[in-house]
């Protein structure tokens, strides 16, 4: 009961701030709306008892990624975005494409062939999402993908360092 109520609250927040990301004229407000979306999504994760995922989402995305994004925005000194003037044909074209997309996804969800896409309540073990369970899964069943992902990230970090260094030596 309270879970349903909280779900509606978090889902509505996610939706409205998601709208804010694309509607806001000021890039800073867009970025902050994205922060709010991520926090509401963490709320949704909490309702699914995925505590670890929820807080990692907050720490990594709002605490690190979005801070860097906001850094960039504030240093670029962007002004208010001027609304782009669309011609009538473009406006209607975009509207039609959007409508088609909505109808298509409704159709897809109706189709019995893709019924597995439809949300359904799965039985969840009580300790699901707990740190221990996640760790055991990560380090046994999903060990190879996990290690590959960390190698990929290390490569990306080294790449970033190399690119930054080249720039510095070129200036000298």
């Amino acid at each position: 009961m309270i879970g349903d109520l909280l779900f509606i609250v978090f889902a509505a927040l996610t939706f409205f701030f998601g709208l804010g990301v694309i509607v806001a004229r000021n890039p800073m407000y867009s970025a902050l709306s994205l922060v709010a979306v991520l926090i509401s999504m963490a709320g949704l994760f909490l309702l699914l008892h995925a505590e670890f995922l929820a807080w990692i989402l907050v720490i990594v995305y709002t605490g690190a990624v979005m801070v860097l994004m906001i850094f960039v925005i504030s240093l670029l000194n962007l002004q208010k975005e001027e609304p782009i003037q669309f011609t009538a044909i473009r406006k209607w074209g975009v509207a039609m494409i959007g409508l088609f997309g909505i109808l298509f996804s409704i159709y897809v969800f109706q189709d019995p062939l893709v019924s597995y896409l439809r949300p359904q309540a799965l039985p969840v073990p009580p300790e699901w999402g707990a740190v221990e369970m996640l760790a055991v899964d990560l380090f046994t069943r999903y060990l190879l993908p996990f290690e590959l992902a960390s190698v990929l990230l290390t490569a990306a970090v080294i790449g970033a360092v190399v690119i930054a260094r080249k720039d510095a030596s070129a200036k000298e």
């Binding site: 926090i39 670890f52 807080w55 990692i56 720490i59 605490g63 801070v67 740190v131």
Partner: protein, 347 residues
């Protein structure tokens, strides 16, 4: 426990703990001014009340009555939101501090003297403190003032850099205790101070001591305290991110800073110094309520904060960055390796 009971018990705990925290915050300011005064051969506040004890109340009234100014250049919405974000995240962090062992009041078993004993307590704390950056950053950005913006940039890059070390410094404790739950971490340090994670009995003293050192250094940086108070370096940046703030909005930043100090000191106590447990397993000492042990340990750390402020000069910005990334972070990673090897060898 049903939902209503949980709500009722949490409300009782909040109603008891919150005023106490506010009072402690007010008297932390008094203690800091008094101690700093004596460190510097002065008297500190002594005019309002005996030993200046009413000074925080006078300060509070003064701040409350001051004019609240919003600069013309400021982004009004974010300018007002920033101090609210800062103080909200500080208050939210207090929710998981385990002040004392289970209590029973009027026949109701309230559980630990802790508002919420989450099983991912420590992750919650890191999540909430990472949100605190937004308050400081938005305050500086929305003021529409270069000093504020510079202070905000410094502050967020500093908090951002040292958060990594802060997170890694507690990993050794998590490995040994085997849980994120703060009450569980305290329970794993029972029977005497030599079992506290600062002395890390399984793997020799080294990982625990290094972990505690790393935690304390990054805690100073996270709370913007001397020697890491570059965000509000008054000699170069006026007052940093809160230059344009006055009245209660300024007071909110001020209170949040002291609350954050209490939070990091409490977490240091919980993770490394045995939380509410007595230092020696003697029946006499164990009769003392856990809240008193907890408060005493937190008090010692807070005095240490003030002592450091009176002793050390401020870092230069490049020193701060290279210290964080080139010394603390590799040390934290090496410490985790040492602790892991020690844990495996100890079985």
């Amino acid at each position: 426990m049903n939902v209503l009971q949980i709500l009722l018990y949490s409300t009782i705990k909040i109603a008891v703990l919150f005023p106490v925290i506010l009072l402690v915050v007010a008297y932390m300011v008094w203690l800091e001014r008094k101690l700093l005064g004596h460190f510097q051969q002065r008297l500190g506040p002594y005019r309002v009340g005996p030993f200046g004890l009413l000074q925080p109340i006078a300060d509070g009234i003064k701040l409350f009555l001051k004019e609240d100014i919003i600069p013309n250049n400021a982004d009004r919405v974010l300018f007002i939101a920033a101090p609210l974000i800062t103080i909200c995240t500080a208050i939210m962090a207090i929710a998981i501090i385990p002040f004392g062992p289970p209590v029973t009041i009027a026949g109701m078993e309230l559980g630990n003297l802790q508002i919420a004993d989450l099983n991912v307590g420590l992750l919650y704390l890191f999540g909430i403190t990472s949100l605190g950056v937004y308050g400081i950053f938005l305050a500086g950005w929305s003021s529409g003032n270069k000093y504020s913006l510079l202070g905000a940039l410094r502050s967020s890059s500093q908090i951002f850099s040292y958060e990594l070390t802060l997170g890694l410094s507690v990993v050794t404790v998590l490995m040994a205790a085997g849980t994120f739950q703060l009450s569980g971490i305290i329970a794993s340090q029972d029977h005497g101070f030599w079992n506290w994670w600062i002395f890390s009995p399984q793997w020799g003293v080294i990982p625990g001591l290094i972990g505690f050192f790393l935690y304390m250094v990054s805690a100073f940086a996270e709370t913007n305290r001397v020697p890491f108070d570059l965000p509000e370096a008054e000699t170069e940046l006026v007052a940093g991110y809160h230059t344009e703030y006055s009245s209660m909005k300024f007071a909110m930043f001020f209170m949040a800073e002291y609350m954050n100090m209490i939070v990091v000191a409490s977490i240091a106590t919980t993770l490394f110094l045995g939380g509410w447990l007595a230092p020696l397993p003697l029946p006499l000492l164990e009769k003392v309520p856990g809240v008193i042990w907890f408060s005493a340990k937190v008090f010692v750390i807070l005095v240490f904060f003030i002592w450091v402020r009176a002793t050390l000069p401020r870092f230069r910005y490049d020193q701060l960055m290279s210290f964080g990334w080139k010394f603390l972070l590799p040390l934290a990673l090496a410490n985790i390796m040492i602790a892991a090897i020690g844990l495996i060898l100890a079985g």
